[in-house]
Symmetry: C2
Subunit: 418 residues, 2 copies
């Protein structure tokens, strides 16, 4: 007997029949003896439709008015789901972001949650209601409607779970859980039963799209146990995501992921003087261009070169900026390499196990895959390879680190209710 | 320079092009030097679509959740209209019922407005904004979303105009104003330039559907000058509706209307004892059945008969109730007459001019129209006639009272800004 927060995305509530399926999943958790808060997104393509409508009115809609517009999508879903749950004979009540008191910054279209009021939620739970909350939306202290941007509904669910000190937050999706890599590339890949927040974050950043990093970060911050599970197979427990401190045994490598959306930029023949890197990356940052991998190396002739990767959408913007700073930092050439994929291995166990990096490089070499660039963090090692080598690299690394068949992690202690 | 409240219905904002037309009408009033608050309904058939969606989820949706659902329709319209106004280079801001503070009773689907907060409205007007407000919706003191039921958006507009002490409330519709009768029946009928609240109320009650009586009653209560005008002909001033005390000259009969949606019920052979009528109409009222005309007459044999009319939708319910009280009041028979239309003449000038009723009856007689039942109020005389006689009766009465060609009323004193 505890509090469970559930979250269902837009495809799960796309039509009245699917809404009834969600109602069944919600009621199942209620029948388990739990208090249930369920967070939903807008139905199916509603948000796309509303965006299209706005674009027909003006090509440059105001972000405040967009939030006013888009927040209606979730309000429709919550009303319909509450009706569906009631139709099955259970008490339910819908609440929009304003009614709950999901307080955000006043930054339209990508507000961050700063507080969640729990008094009305608790009152409605105590009255025996299943509460249906609109995801993706909040309200400023002044009563302005905001939306949370990418990963918003997942984040709403996790934040509500944190505020209510819920026992678990279940994110229902169209996959059965978290996989060590993309099952389309390695068909016999195993679903993880348990994975740590940190590993999930690294996997999300390198291309595993099950959860937005933002929701995982919120879960990690407030230590909310997350479950990623299937909307279609309700008896499947999916993947539990918890703190690494709760895990006793884990494989050194939890997952392999690839990201082919980046391009590499090389600034050659830079004089070896202080402040060059700061000038270059400062200018990019000021223009909101995120840089991922960075390698600076000193050549035998005493000049530096700086190589880094940016998202391909940012390439033109980055070149414009680099052209303006090129003379100032006395760079030789700006070289672009679009034929890259970043292949990464992720695992909280790497820290304790030396030689993982060497195993990765050896495995790629044995498969004749050339490495263009390397970067490492505490729980991740990334290699840039040619695009056509991404899939062979993933397959080789999954085999190398035994991700095809066995379990990745074992829970430390007993967490039977999760 | 004053405050003008405008209201546009669902057909006026049915698509992005029409929304831009509305934006133009709004901007025109702003350019006249006025502060403008514009109230809009949901786009086109949005409300019908949402109701259909709810019915697909459950045949008996909860009224609270219906309000949560339906209130999104207006929220979409206000966001899009605010965007459109901004696209024309004017400052605009949308506000839903909760944000304005349109406080209502906690009666879902047909709440009445109890208060309208003006602080945020005034603040936004002072900042130079055109304010776009969601009609048809409000919020209880507890933050529950309500809708106002029939005539809701018109009532929102009038109530906001009253709260802001606006100079005028303009209701934009698909007709050019208020006509003395249905132009489809009497093609050469004249539009009224000015009409009183009282006359408008009586016309609305007997079948003129331009404005819901509720909005007219609110306007009368707070003395808000109303204009009914065309969305399509912005230069046409339509019909001004004001208090009878502001009118100096008016025709005795302002309009003729017919209502063919009623049925007549006759209880015959009632003993002439006190309390019979109270028992009959008390039972009907307790079951929410509204009774319109009532005639009680004493027959030569010393028994009473009571005839009255109800809406045909209420006929079966009324019969059920009458069957239960029939024995108690010792009624002879219950007779039903479905072949009736109620034809009424309405005019604030009747009070001062004797003989209007006689003129009406004579005119009908000259046209061989038999009168089944008569009822009168201070500014209205209604006759029940056979259904097929409704149109000939309207034509005859328009001719009799000179409504085909001339103006009906003249404003008393000068109200040049209206």
């Amino acid at each position: 007997m505890g509090i469970i927060v559930q979250k269902f995305g837009g495809t799960s509530v796309a039509d009245p029949q699917k809404i009834h399926n969600v109602a069944n999943a919600v009621i199942k958790e209620k029948e388990n003896g739990n208090d249930v808060v369920v967070v939903v997104s807008a139905m199916g393509h509603t948000t796309d439709y509303l965006i299209k409508l706005a674009k027909e009115v003006t090509l440059n809609p105001d972000s405040r008015e967009m939030d006013m517009l888009l927040s209606t999508g979730e309000q429709v879903s919550i009303a319909l789901l509450a009706m569906a749950i009631q139709a099955h004979g259970y008490k339910a009540i819908s609440m929009n972001g304003q009614q709950v008191g999901i307080i955000t910054e006043c930054i339209h279209s990508k507000a961050r949650i700063v507080d969640i009021k729990t008094d009305k939620l608790k009152k409605n739970l105590e009255a025996g209601n299943i509460i249906v909350v609109a995801g993706f939306q909040g309200v400023t202290p002044d009563g302005e409607i905001t939306t949370l941007g990418r990963g918003g509904s997942d984040t709403s669910a996790v934040a509500i779970a944190a505020a209510l000190k819920a026992d678990r937050c279940d994110i229902y999706t169209d996959v059965e859980g978290v996989y060590a890599t993309d099952p389309r590339i390695v068909p016999n890949i195993q679903k993880a039963d348990v994975i740590s927040y940190e590993e999930m974050l690294e996997l999300a950043r390198v291309g595993a799209n099950v959860l937005h990093p933002r929701s995982v970060e919120t879960a990690k911050q407030f230590n909310v146990p997350l479950r990623v599970r299937s909307s279609f197979k309700l008896n499947n427990l999916g993947t539990l995501i918890i703190g690494v401190e709760n895990m006793e045994i884990y494989k050194p490598v939890a997952g392999v992921a690839a990201d082919s959306s980046q391009v590499r930029i090389l600034l050659s023949n830079l004089p070896d003087i202080p402040g060059t890197a700061a000038r270059v990356f400062g200018a990019l940052a000021k223009n909101n261009i995120s840089v991922d991998m960075i390698i600076q190396s000193l050549a035998s002739n005493g000049t530096n070169s700086i190589a880094f990767t940016v998202d391909e959408d940012d390439l033109n913007g980055a070149i414009d900026i680099l052209e303006t700073v090129k003379d100032e930092v006395k760079a030789g050439e700006i070289l672009i390499d679009k034929d890259i994929s970043k292949v990464s291995i992720v695992g909280a166990g790497m820290v304790d196990r030396p030689g993982i990096a060497a195993d990765m490089f050896r495995s790629l070499a044995e498969n004749n895959i050339n490495i263009k660039m390397i970067s490492t963090s505490e729980i991740k090692i990334s290699c840039l390879v040619e695009k056509e080598n991404a899939k062979p690299a993933i397959k080789a690394l999954c085999k190398e680190f035994g991700l095809e068949t066995t379990e990745m992690a074992v829970v430390k202690g007993d967490l039977p209710n999760l």
